[in-house]
């Protein structure tokens, strides 16, 4: 909005010149639509080449391919949440967490959980943590020829990584958690308030739907920030629709945001009941497949990445982790970003991820 800045009217009422300016601007923006439509058809997400090296049911373990020579013995395995697709960590050029590790010479893997079908509604945390994750870890260990690997967990994948590291500590060399909830005692997050047992009957929901439906998860996340997601985002897009770079980033993000997948019913039920409602993980009372998850069992170096402005996983849900583990080498980085900004924000890629790679490099054996 660069035209019509002269003030002829009184108060906040726009002047006739301003109205004319806005109409002209709207006309110019209409001309940008064909380019936007073309860009929308060419959106590419998940930029680093990868290939599946292990499959089980719907899961695929992806290994990133690179020309960069391997510099570290210990590989990195990324564990993403079950709610969305994992390519957010490799979204587009300059917005790829994965590429930081790949370019530093780390052998890097990522778990793509796949889309659970109706028949997968009985898969629980036991299946995801003790079966799928364990098999992926074993595959990575075998391929890299090491006993222990580096684990990076994001969001719910971070909680699952913490559970896994507590249950199988002998297989983990370094643990990095990224906006990972572990303590649900507070009410900073709206999700925490909405999932309280008096307002949310998770058993009934899973009984009826089987899995937690993607559309329902999507609308819940959208409702957490209604003004931003339903109004501001679109105004921002309108104002920047002639900026090619902005449109590309916007479309890539929208592709990911709208690519929701259902969560296996039993896992969702367990996560809501045992984590959100009873907060068992941080208290050391959570059981996964008849095994007690004691965070004190985690003794490897810990790096806890907390997003300061996270509305989904507020810092109060992530910060207590470092005090609950048995490790002596533990570090927290609180970064001024939102939940997704931690993975795709320009500043995070400029300032945070090089630091994370340095931290990991210091604790990894060179070849």
């Amino acid at each position: 909005m660069s035209t019509a800045t002269s003030g002829m009217g009184s108060g906040w009422m726009p002047t006739p010149e301003q109205w004319m300016g806005w109409w002209q601007q709207a006309g110019q923006k209409m001309l940008a639509w064909p380019k936007i439509m073309e860009a929308a058809q060419k959106v590419r997400v998940g930029i680093t080449p990868s290939r599946p090296v292990y499959r089980e049911d719907r899961l695929r373990l992806l290994q990133y391919e690179t020309d960069v020579e391997k510099a570290h013995k210990t590989p990195v395995m990324v564990v993403f949440a079950l709610v969305n697709r994992p390519y957010i960590l490799d979204l587009s050029p300059g917005k790829s967490v994965v590429s930081h590790f790949v370019n530093r010479g780390f052998e890097t893997y990522n778990i793509d959980w796949g889309v659970p079908s109706d028949g997968d509604c009985d898969l629980g945390l036991r299946d995801y943590v003790l079966r799928y994750m364990d098999h992926c870890v074993d595959t990575v260990r075998e391929r890299a020829g090491v006993d222990r690997i580096n684990l990076l967990g994001y969001c719910m994948g971070g909680s699952m990584s913490a559970m896994y590291a507590a249950l199988r500590p002998e297989k983990i060399k370094n643990l990095i958690l990224m906006a990972a909830p572990v303590d649900w005692s507070g009410d900073d997050s709206l999700l925490q308030v909405w999932t309280q047992p008096e307002y949310f009957d998770v058993d009934k929901m899973i009984e009826v739907h089987g899995n937690a439906p993607a559309f329902w998860l999507q609308s819940s996340f959208m409702l957490l920030k209604p003004v931003q997601n339903m109004i501001e985002k679109h105004i921002n897009f309108y104002e920047n629709m002639e900026n090619e770079k902005f449109v590309q980033n916007f479309l890539a993000m929208e592709t990911w945001l709208n690519d929701n997948i259902p969560v296996a019913g039993e896992t969702f039920r367990e996560f809501v009941k045992y984590c959100f409602q009873r907060n068992l993980l941080i208290q050391g009372k959570l059981e996964v497949g008849n095994e007690k998850v004691d965070l004190q069992n985690i003794t490897c170096p810990i790096l806890n990445l907390v997003a300061q402005n996270d509305h989904l996983v507020p810092p109060s849900q992530s910060l207590p982790f470092n005090d609950a583990v048995g490790s002596t080498d533990r570090k927290t980085i609180t970064f001024p970003a939102g939940h997704i900004g931690l993975a795709v924000g320009s500043r995070a890629h400029r300032e945070l991820w090089p630091k994370v790679c340095d931290w990991l490099q210091e604790r990894s054996e060179s070849i």
Binding site: M1, S2, A4, T5, S6, G7, G9, S10, G11, W12, M13, P14, T15, Q18, D118, G119, D120, C121, D122, D187, L190, V193, W194, E198, Y199, F200, D201, K204, M205, E207, V208, H209, G210, L223, K225, P226, V227, Q228, I231, E232, I235
Partner: protein, 142 residues
Amino acid sequence: MSMNGGFPQPGSDPFTQFWTDFSQKMMSAGMPTPAPSPTEEAFGKVRQLFFESMSQHAEQFMRSEAFLSAMKQAMDNGLAWQQMMNQTLQKSLAGAQMPTREDANQITVLIRGMEDRILDRLEDVCRRVEVLEGKRTSGKNG
């Protein structure tokens, strides 16, 4: 759960609270009301403050008992309707001798159970083989 935190005048109605909060934000940002000459920058600032107020009040509202109760009721009704639909469809499909989602789930559960049992047996066999190999090795050494 805070019910009224952040509101400028607890006790007044939400509509008044919102506009009071908005005008307070405008004043603290140094925006004169009404502006002598509305510039693009001023419009942008007003819009930003308006949305900030809206966000804050939306968050407060979505934490309120009224919203939570309404959400629960809407969800309960939605689930009841969905359940009724599921049952009707299941009955119709069963009547037409066609497999339902439940049947497919049942088969998956059966296959998974079978897989688990086979894997458990294999692990058991592996353990026995290891014990026997251990005994054989110790026998040779002894």
